[in-house]
């Protein structure tokens, strides 16, 4: 943009557009891209911390080589996380659309349910998440995300007790509660998606539903012909958000692995987190490419 020829090529629209995003561009370059480039640089060095700063000792591609060929734990975690993300994100999407549909219309008690489902967001601090394991009376008070699961186990344990006291088939309950365990974890990742879908649902012009009603469309048809297509922008948004959120959650094993390495093997932690981020980036681009073609805009 420095030479005059280029400047003339910019239309007024280009200029105003660029003006709007200017703060971000500056911030991105100075406070994001530059430090990131530095951290790429770290991946090719061995780092030791000194009183005056960091000592860098070039080692070439050693870190990357180690990551791909020797670090089997990391590779294994990546593959397991990809399978679980597909399942969990799909469930999150279905459930949050479903819950949003249930919560969108007025009915007595709607406010209460909305608040209940949004509360996990407020209690989302790491300190809270780490504390869940301790309620059950385990003797150690360590911050371990696996204890998140202990807590959820107790949740369903309570339900299990009630149901089994009625004497219904136990294996069936076992299966059901196993899902409920997972459901609990998912619910704590869902509040934002539900809110986005509620907003999305309410943005659908009501006259479309009136027309559909007059034409005699069934509820099923109305949902698939009106609600769903007009919800596609929100779906894309939530899909990408959920995937990224799942990958970057602090309860995620890989994120924990990277965090641990940040303390003593800084250069390698940078390598891991770069490999991980590139993977997420590719996944998001693929999802975006596939889904965005099917998104229907309001215009």
């Amino acid at each position: 943009m420095n030479n005059k020829k280029r400047r003339r090529l910019l239309t007024p629209d280009d200029k105003t557009g660029l003006l709007f995003v200017l703060p971000f561009i500056i911030g991105f370059i100075f406070l994001f891209f530059k430090p990131l480039l530095e951290s790429v640089n770290y991946t090719f060095h061995r780092i030791s911390v000194d009183a005056n700063g960091l000592l860098l000792e070039p080692i070439g591609f050693e870190n990357w080589q180690y990551l791909v060929t020797k670090d089997s734990a990391f590779v294994k975690q990546i593959s397991s996380i990809i399978t679980s993300v597909t399942v969990e994100v799909l469930v999150i999407m279905f459930m949050s659309i479903f819950l949003a549909v249930l919560l969108v219309n007025k009915f007595p008690g709607r406010l209460l349910f909305r608040v209940c489902l949004f509360l996990p967001m407020i209690f989302g601090a790491d300190a809270v998440l780490h504390s869940f394991g301790m309620i059950g009376g385990s003797s150690e008070m360590t911050a371990n995300s696996n204890e998140f699961m202990i807590m959820s186990g107790e949740t369903t344990g309570f339900i299990k007790e009630i149901i089994s006291s009625f004497g219904i088939l136990t294996p069936l309950i076992e299966k059901f509660t196993a899902y409920a365990d997972k459901l609990f974890k998912l619910l704590w990742n869902m509040p934002l998606q539900i809110v986005i879908f509620i907003i999305g649902l309410q943005a659908i012009p009501p006259h479309l539903y009136e027309v559909a009603k007059m034409e005699g469309a069934t509820a099923w048809e109305t949902f698939w012909k009106i609600t769903f297509p007009l919800l596609t922008p929100s779906i894309l948004l939530c899909l990408i958000y959920s995937v990224i959120d799942y990958f970057n959650a602090t309860t995620n094993t890989i994120v924990q692995m990277i965090d641990e390495n940040m303390v003593n093997r800084l250069d390698y932690a940078c390598t891991q987190s770069w490999a991980y981020s590139l993977l997420i980036f590719v996944i998001v681009l693929v999802i975006n490419a596939i889904v965005s073609r099917r998104v229907i805009s309001m215009d």
Binding site: V21, G124, D299
Partner: protein, 317 residues
């Protein structure tokens, strides 16, 4: 009752009753699952440690007591920490929300050259785990040099001018103002997707009336996406308040932020005796509850507007 998923004519009273029953049962079940740990935490914080030791927690504590809250306040300086965190939260939230709405508007409404590149950059800021850039950033703030101005001065004076902002509030406000604050990428993403979904005629009508682009953004677009604005503000407050990672890395001059202190309490307790541990546990829950109380208050205050705004957005059509 603007719309229904199931047309009225189809719904016989029986079906309607079944639908309602189903809806309530499902929502109640899901809500129970979601808030169970919170209720347990609350009840544990109200239980005496001895009772907690003997029977664990029930939904309703045998003898409710505020002892834990009072006692924990003696060593946990909640108000000191909350002041620091509150200051960071308020200033950064205002900056982040305003700037990310601007950027989101730019990306969502203008097809300028390089738009896709900027958009990809936004996505990239969301995706990259923040830990990766934290260390280089720490050194950047330690020897801070605004866009290389210090270096240019250094060409004349022989020594580059740098300031240390690592321990000041500027360290948080600067990224917030420049649209790379805590989770700002997600907010930009949210804003752009809602801005881009707005009908074109609104903008064109305003243009004919002679509004400049900023006025269109401020007077026409912002009032139309208030639900999103409220949501984002709420989220930003929650994220900043609950953040322990970034504020932990910067030891502030003003004192410590809240959440890192809460987390440090967990580590303190390793190796304590069983009875002592119980006492600390219940007090820890009391501290947790106290720590998120301001957020709950904000939410309760904002909830009215939040729900109202969500409802109003629909009637625009």
């Amino acid at each position: 009752m603007r719309k229904r998923l199931i047309p009225k004519s189809v719904l016989t009273p029986v079906v309607k009753f079944a639908y309602n029953l189903f809806r309530y049962a499902l929502l109640a079940g899901v809500s129970y699952l979601a808030i169970f740990p919170i209720i347990k935490m609350l009840s544990a914080s109200l239980t005496e440690s001895e009772a907690f030791y003997n029977s664990g927690t029930n939904f309703i504590p045998p003898v409710a007591t505020f002892q834990n809250f009072i006692h924990s306040m003696q060593y946990f300086k909640f108000f000191d920490y909350a002041k620091v965190t509150g200051l960071i939260t308020i200033t950064c939230t205002i900056c982040t929300v305003f700037v990310s709405s601007l950027v989101g508007y730019g990306i969502g409404r203008y097809k300028f050259k390089g738009r896709n590149l900027v958009y990809a950059c936004v996505l990239f800021t969301i995706i990259m785990p923040i830990q990766t850039a934290q260390l280089p950033l720490t050194y950047y703030y330690r020897w801070f040099d605004l866009f290389g101005i210090g270096k240019i001065i250094g060409l004349f004076t022989g020594e580059a001018v740098t300031i240390n902002i690592l321990h000041s509030l500027a360290r948080f406000i600067l990224p917030a103002v420049l649209g790379v604050g805590l989770r700002a990428g997600i907010f930009i993403f949210l804003f752009q997707s809602f801005f881009s979904g707005m009908p074109k005629d609104l903008e064109e009508a305003a243009k004919i009336d002679g509004c400049n682009p900023f006025k269109i953004y401020w007077k026409v677009m912002i009032p139309n996406i208030i639900p999103v604005l409220v949501t984002v503000t709420l989220l930003s407050i929650i994220y900043y308040w609950n953040d322990s990672l970034i504020v932990d890395m910067a030891k502030l001059d003003m004192g410590s932020a809240l959440m890192p202190q809460v987390e440090s309490l967990v580590e303190m307790n390793i190796g304590a005796s069983q009875m002592d541990l119980m006492q600390r546990k219940v007090e820890y829950y009391a501290i947790l509850i106290t720590s998120v109380t301001p957020l709950i208050l904000v939410f309760m205050f904002g909830q009215k507007y939040f729900v109202e705004c969500m409802d109003r957005s629909g009637s625009k059509g």
